[in-house]
Symmetry: C2
Subunit: 361 residues, 2 copies
Amino acid sequence: MSRKTKLISSPSSFIGIDGDGYISFGSGQPDLPPPREIFRNLEDRRLFRYGLIQGEIKLRQALAKEYPNARPEDFVITNGASEALDLVFRAIRQMHGRVKVLLCQPYYYSYPPLVELAGLIPVYTRLKEGRIDIEDFRKKVRGVKAVLINSPSNPTGRIEAIPTLHEIEAITQKLGVYVISDEVYKDLIYVRGNYLIKGRHVITVNSFSKTYSMCGLRIGYLWARDRKIVDRAIDIKVHTSMNTNTLAQEMALRAMDVPQSFVDRQTKIWRERRDFICDGLANLGFSLWKPEGAFYVLPKIKDSGRVVSELFYKHKVITYDGAWFGAPGRIRLSYALDVEKIKEGLARIGTYLKGKENWLV
Amino acid sequence: MSRKTKLISSPSSFIGIDGDGYISFGSGQPDLPPPREIFRNLEDRRLFRYGLIQGEIKLRQALAKEYPNARPEDFVITNGASEALDLVFRAIRQMHGRVKVLLCQPYYYSYPPLVELAGLIPVYTRLKEGRIDIEDFRKKVRGVKAVLINSPSNPTGRIEAIPTLHEIEAITQKLGVYVISDEVYKDLIYVRGNYLIKGRHVITVNSFSKTYSMCGLRIGYLWARDRKIVDRAIDIKVHTSMNTNTLAQEMALRAMDVPQSFVDRQTKIWRERRDFICDGLANLGFSLWKPEGAFYVLPKIKDSGRVVSELFYKHKVITYDGAWFGAPGRIRLSYALDVEKIKEGLARIGTYLKGKENWLV
């Protein structure tokens, strides 16, 4: 790398870079539009008044219908899944003190800082082939108060086997450990339906961002069977952000009315793109875990930090360093962009890799 | 109080109570509508994509023009002033550890929990006649890392004298103490223009909620001259909530384009209501600090907790217990409702007070 090439240290370095010849495999931002139905009659004056801290009752009622044995009062509508996780960790901190939280590595890059910001201690179980290694999980879960599961996973694109999820349910139930299940990609699974992890100690976190291409509106939620978590999360949110944007909650409610075919159509597009990028990366010689959900792939490459910087500065291709996700020696590519752009991006990566074939082992 | 009357313990007890014969002097929710201009062309697809964590550049540019020597890069757009305060306290915690924060008592009820949630320690200076007692302030500021100022104040409705603000600027500058200035009511001052507290150690917090009746949309911001605070706040927000709702930021930008006459017209209405409620309360025998800004009044009454409960259960009048704001022996009335309702509410309070005149001393 030339002396002038600055090493890129976090995804935020790429923020605001758009168009101008760049191909971005960076942010997990669907390029597909949101459903048109969500725009009707937004001038309602009520939408500009403070709303319930917990979230609008109609939206919580609609969500309760989507989950087994769920009640509207068990949901909290949040500023995206991010705030849901933040509230859950802060609630756990208030109730249990400075306890440990088990994370899977590679992890979504916000997980360790979220745990630490709340005053909790992250510990890690290493994924095997991008999925939970139940033997290691069993060892590491001892002594923690909560585990965070993310299936489909960002960044690995893998989903957990259902027997693994059953085992996690049983172990954590027995030990009295919370399971925080981040299921923001639950509607983007290519190989089976979503398996909703169950139990009185489970906290499900979800979002409208990916399913309905509404990332910028920041509507997510948590659903907990444990009343204490819900109450505590609301008590905290009163002070830290108050109600979630009422207008966006109304739009989320309308999105839920959209026929399932909207979601199915999107999933079909993601699957085609997944196949396209996986084939392309394989042709370039990359070894990778085939994604089963979400829209990320995490192929191996030596010196991933240098690769990310050089691809950006020399070839105008944005990728994320696996190191940011606890996976150095890999790069993360989001395939939430159209096939023509994927093709062009892969061609540039191919050019860059000429003579560097030994980096791919 | 009859045995059956449950003591009301927090403002959240009143949430969702609306209409049905109730008169609410509770929440600080303007009843006036937002400007119509903010509704144009909301279908723009870009608004649904992730935005900059720091906030949309156009909105920050517009804000920078409103403040002296301000630059767009010194602002962070947040989920209301609440999140701005939360981010500032968390940033201070990260940079300086478990330090003390000086709050003025009576305080807005979220201040102590926000300080504590961030892992900081609140200490208090007692207001005199609803305003800062600079002698006490001078003593208490020693040993703290930050002070939080709120002028106009919720709940006292008072504004700080400009010489007081000058003194605070000088003392805190000398001691290297941050001044967090919550100015969400800056456009609702009846007695003079707003005085913007200045200095490199000042963090200004503001919101579109009150000025433009956009409470439910949750658009606020922080403006800090100290680059470290801004950078740290962004670093935290990446994980805890990501960008603030992009659609609402666009609406806030349009609100800023609305002629000043919109704000002036609203202020005139607030002033009339203030005069009306103050006269009414005085006629009932209450002693109070005349509000100079915002839309709250905090009259004295014995056993304020009982009064709030009985007014609610027996007379369908919502008021807030001063104790929730660190001011037991007072009740807070918001006058963000129309004069006819204020009149009816005062009449009911009058009925309730018959034979209890000695509670007002």
